[in-house]
Structures are given as C-alpha cells and as structure tokens.
C-alpha cells in the first residue's frame, strides 16, 4: 500500500515526431528567391492591392486569390522590438541560442503588413521604433531555404 510519504514519479518520454509541412506554392517561391537571389517576395492582391509578406495564396483583407508576387524591401522601418534575455532551445537545431539577442517587427518598404525577424543589437543605442533597418542575408553557401536565410535586420545609420 502506498503511504502519503511516497514521492510520486515522473514518467519521462521524449517524443520525436517528424513532420514535413508543405510550404505551398507562393511560400516555396518566396523561400527559393531568398536562397538563390537574396530577394524578398510578397503577394499582391489584384482586387485591393494589399501586399503581404511572406506571400500567401489568398488575401487576408478581401479573401481573393493572390497569384501575383512582387519584390519588397530589403529596407524597411522598425515598428517594435525586444531584447530577449531568456534562454531558448532552437527547435530546428536543438541548441540553446546565446542571449541576449534581438527581435524586431519590421515594415518592409512596399509592404502593407509586418515581418517579425531577428534584429542585430550590436549597437544598442540605435534601437528605436521608427528606425530604418535593412535585411542582411546569410552567405550564399550557408542558406538553408528558410526564413533564416535572412540572417537578421540591421539598423541603417
């Protein structure tokens, strides 16, 4: 018989469930353009002209299909940011990311919505809402066909 003094057990299970998510066509074109040409593509709605990055198959404003892709950025404006001080295990590498690091939400030139991404925080004094920023791409040989082929955004002087 158990007594109240017995410590309950934890049963630990590490679940490793692999998935392969279809990126769909517009996002596949976006990722290939990032990797091969260091270009940022967005979807543009023929009905209401709304420009969305990353590109979608349909417009989030008027619900029409958006077959047209246009190039946006690589410059933009910092809408908000945070310097992150808590450790984070990168789900793609399993490694802990060094802290601190920066996140920003950027309005790319030519876009109507915003792109959340890493922010270079090496010059902390220049971080401000409204600051102009620019995408810095990974070296071509290091690109992995992912949104992280943009290494981060850096503050423009």
């Amino acid at each position: 018989m158990s007594t109240p003094k017995e410590k309950p057990l934890y049963i630990s299970i590490k679940t490793d469930l692999p998935y392969a998510y279809s990126a769909g066509r517009p996002l596949s074109r976006f990722l290939v353009a990032l990797r091969d040409e260091a270009k940022i593509l967005a979807s543009r709605c023929n009905q209401c002209s709304y420009v969305l990055v990353p590109p979608r198959a349909f417009c989030t404003q008027c619900h029409k299909l958006t077959p047209e892709l246009v190039e946006v950025g690589p410059r933009g404006t910092l809408e908000t940011f945070s310097v992150i001080n808590f450790p984070f295990i990168d789900p793609f590498t399993g490694l802990e990311r060094p802290v601190p690091y920066g996140y920003g939400i950027i309005k790319l030139d030519g876009c109507d919505n915003l792109l959340p991404h890493f922010l270079d925080i090496s010059d902390h004094t220049k971080l401000a809402i409204g600051q102009r920023v620019e995408a810095v791409f990974e070296e071509k040989e290091n690109r992995t066909t992912a949104l992280t082929d943009i290494k981060h955004f850096r503050v423009l002087i």
Partner: protein
C-alpha cells in the same frame, strides 16, 4: 430563447508544479468538489465540454486523459483546443441547441510537464515563424514596447499593474504568486524580454477549473444563487503576427461591443461592478481595459492611478490577482468566469466586491491576444 446560468464552480489551488496529481486526478479534484458542493452526481450531468491542448499535454486528444474524471463515459464529451471561455460558449450553445439541459465545463493544464518556451514556439506557424524561435513571451514583449511607445507610457506604469494585481493575489488562497510590493520593487525584478520583467509576465501554473451550466428551468434544482450568462462576444484576428497592429485589438473591441449589446450595457465603466481580465502580461491589463471601453485609448493607467480598479475601488479589475497571480494555460480564462461568478454569489471571501451584481469575464488565446471572448454575467435574470 432559453436563459443559461452558472450553477456551481470549483477550482484547484494553482502551483508551479503539482506533481502529486496527474491530469485525471487534477480534473477529479474539481469535479468531485463541485458535485459535493451541489449534492449531485455523475448522472445529473447531460454533457461535458472541456478545454485543453493536445500539444501542451503531449497526447493526440488531450481530453482523453480526463474523460473518466469528468464522468464522460456513455455521455457526449467534446473539447475546445483553446481558452476555457470558449468552452463556456460551446457549453452554452449545446444547451441552447435543445439537446442538453446541463453542461459541465472543465479546463485543465500543467505547465510543469512540458517546456513552455518550446510549446510557446509551437504556437507559431511551422513554415515561416517557428524557425525564428518566437514564443509567447517574446511576442508579448514586442507588443508591450509598441504600446508603451505609442502612448508615452513607461515601465513604471506597468509596475503599477503588477503591484495592484500581486497585492490582490495575497487575498486569494488559490493564487500561485502573491506579493505585497512597491513600484520600486517591481522595477527591480529581472528583465526577461525588454521592456517586460519577470513580475510583468504571468507565472507558469498547474491547475484545473470546472463550472456547471444549466438551462433556466433546471437551475433551481442546483442552486438558489444562479449567475446568468447575459452577454457574450467572441472574435478573432489574423493569425500571423505581422498581419496585425499589435498596439490595438479589433477582435476585442468587436467582442466587447457584441457582449455589451446582448447584455444591454451602454456604459460599461458605470454599469459593471467587477472585471476579471486575462492579462498574460502587465501591459495587457491596460490595453484590454481600454479596448473594453473602460478608459480612453492609452489612458488605462489612469484607472489604476486614481484607484478606480483597485480592490475597494469603484470598478475593481482582477480582484483575484488575475492571471499575473496564476496562469494555467487554457484554464485561466475559465478561472476568470469562475471568479466573476464567485463575486456575484458573494463568495469571493477576502477579495469580495461588495454588492456586485454585474461582472465582465474575459479570455484570450493566441500570441498578443489573437482571439478574445468577453462574457457578461449577472446575478439578476
């Protein structure tokens, strides 16, 4: 249309790690407590709606873990993979459909059993956001900065929310984090994701909450202190963080307008007696208060400075301590409804708002408040 009332509520104490109970035992504790309170049993329940998350619990259908505990064998149990306020909505709809007379609504969650940062990251789209490592705290921090900057507010303003709510939590025996501190103390807590400090961020909690809904003709069988569901609004915004203006929430404004109109509320600031908000971060109490029409945009802080929303003020907000006092994912919204119901029954103990007759309970889910559900409750039919 039939009216629906809450006829009983029960909740666990909330704690960072409830290793003594598995999910079924956690659920059983509150269901058993509710049954004893009402003098009823499993046969008095017509159907069950639960709230929990497969990803959080690490099983394909998370409610399977609690189905026996809620007495769901040979009955209809269904789940929302979202906040508990939406389980109340679903539960009410099942009664209004005419198929059921009573609905048991339960939410359970244990943050201690998974990695909250990785689970928070899994909230985001696997194709174009997860790689960046976003989690709910990082997203909340960016919302906080955008909000503070837009309305010329400071971290000290956020600290005032922390001081009020953690102070209120000292009166709530179920709270996990309760502190009598000053603004200066709050500003000394660790900077986690600037501008948010440790105390600005809801703690991770384990716990469960349950309530029983009944159709009006059955209410007297259970209680002489029913709490009527008089208004509800539920709206959501775009999923992708970059598609929203994080300094506002159109979905909350719409949810509030719908709930107020259904409940016949014209001036919420004057007509409501008590508010329980789902503020995962201190800045969200200010934002949500404004968007619920309790203050002008950017002036939510005045409600705290003038003492309107303190315990004993004209319109207490989060007298229980709110989500900064305990945050079990998906449960926290149901707890807001339960706390509002306790206030309207005069059973809120040391944090009772005297004479409260109309309450607002709010739930949200998704990064930076993607989805909102607003409930108006009344102890008058």
């Amino acid at each position: 249309m039939h009216r629906v009332a809450i006829v009983g509520v029960a909740q666990t104490k909330f704690a960072a790690e409830k290793i003594d109970q598995n999910y079924a035992e956690l659920a059983y504790e509150v269901v058993d407590s509710l049954f004893n309170q009402l003098g009823i049993g499993h046969s008095d329940i017509d159907n069950i709606v639960t709230a929990s998350s497969d990803f959080w619990d690490g099983r394909t259908i998370s409610s399977m873990a609690v189905q026996d505990a809620v007495g769901a064998w040979l009955k209809s149990e269904t789940k929302v993979s979202s906040d508990g306020t939406l389980a109340v909505l679903y539960g009410m709809m099942r009664i209004l459909s005419g198929s059921f007379g009573t609905t048991l609504v339960l939410a359970h969650s244990k943050s201690s059993e998974g990695n909250q940062t990785m689970l928070g990251n899994a909230v985001f789209d696997p194709i174009y956001q997860r790689q960046l490592g976003f989690d709910l705290v990082a997203a909340g921090a960016m919302q906080a900065r955008a909000y503070l900057e837009k309305y010329n507010l400071t971290e000290a303003d956020l600290a005032e929310v922390v001081v009020k709510n953690l102070g209120n939590a000292t009166y709530n025996p179920n709270a996990q984090r309760a502190m009598s501190i000053t603004v200066e103390d709050a500003l000394k807590s660790n900077l986690v994701a600037d501008p948010l400090r440790e105390l600005d961020i809801a703690p991770n909690s384990d716990g469960a909450c349950v309530l029983l809904l009944a159709r009006e003709d059955l209410v007297s069988k259970f209680t002489d202190k029913p709490v009527w569901l008089t208004g509800v609004g539920h709206y959501q915004d775009n999923y992708y963080l970059g598609d929203r203006d994080l300094t506002t929430s159109k979905s909350l404004e719409k949810a509030a307008a719908k709930a107020y109109s259904m409940a016949g509320i014209i001036n919420p600031r004057k007509e409501l007696n008590v508010v329980e908000l789902y503020d995962t971060f201190s800045h969200q109490e200010l934002m949500w208060s404004e968007l619920l029409g309790l203050a002008e945009r950017g002036r939510g802080i005045d409600l705290i400075r003038s003492g309107v929303t303190k315990l004993g003020g004209e319109l207490p907000v989060n007298p229980s301590g709110g989500v900064l006092g305990a945050h079990a994912m998906f449960v926290a919204g149901l707890v807001r409804v339960a706390e509002a119901a306790l206030q309207l029954r005069g059973e809120a103990g040391a944090y009772q708002v005297e004479g409260a007759s109309k309450a607002l309970a709010h739930g949200t889910v998704g990064p930076c408040g993607q989805t909102h559900c607003v409930w108006i409750l009344s102890n008058e039919k």
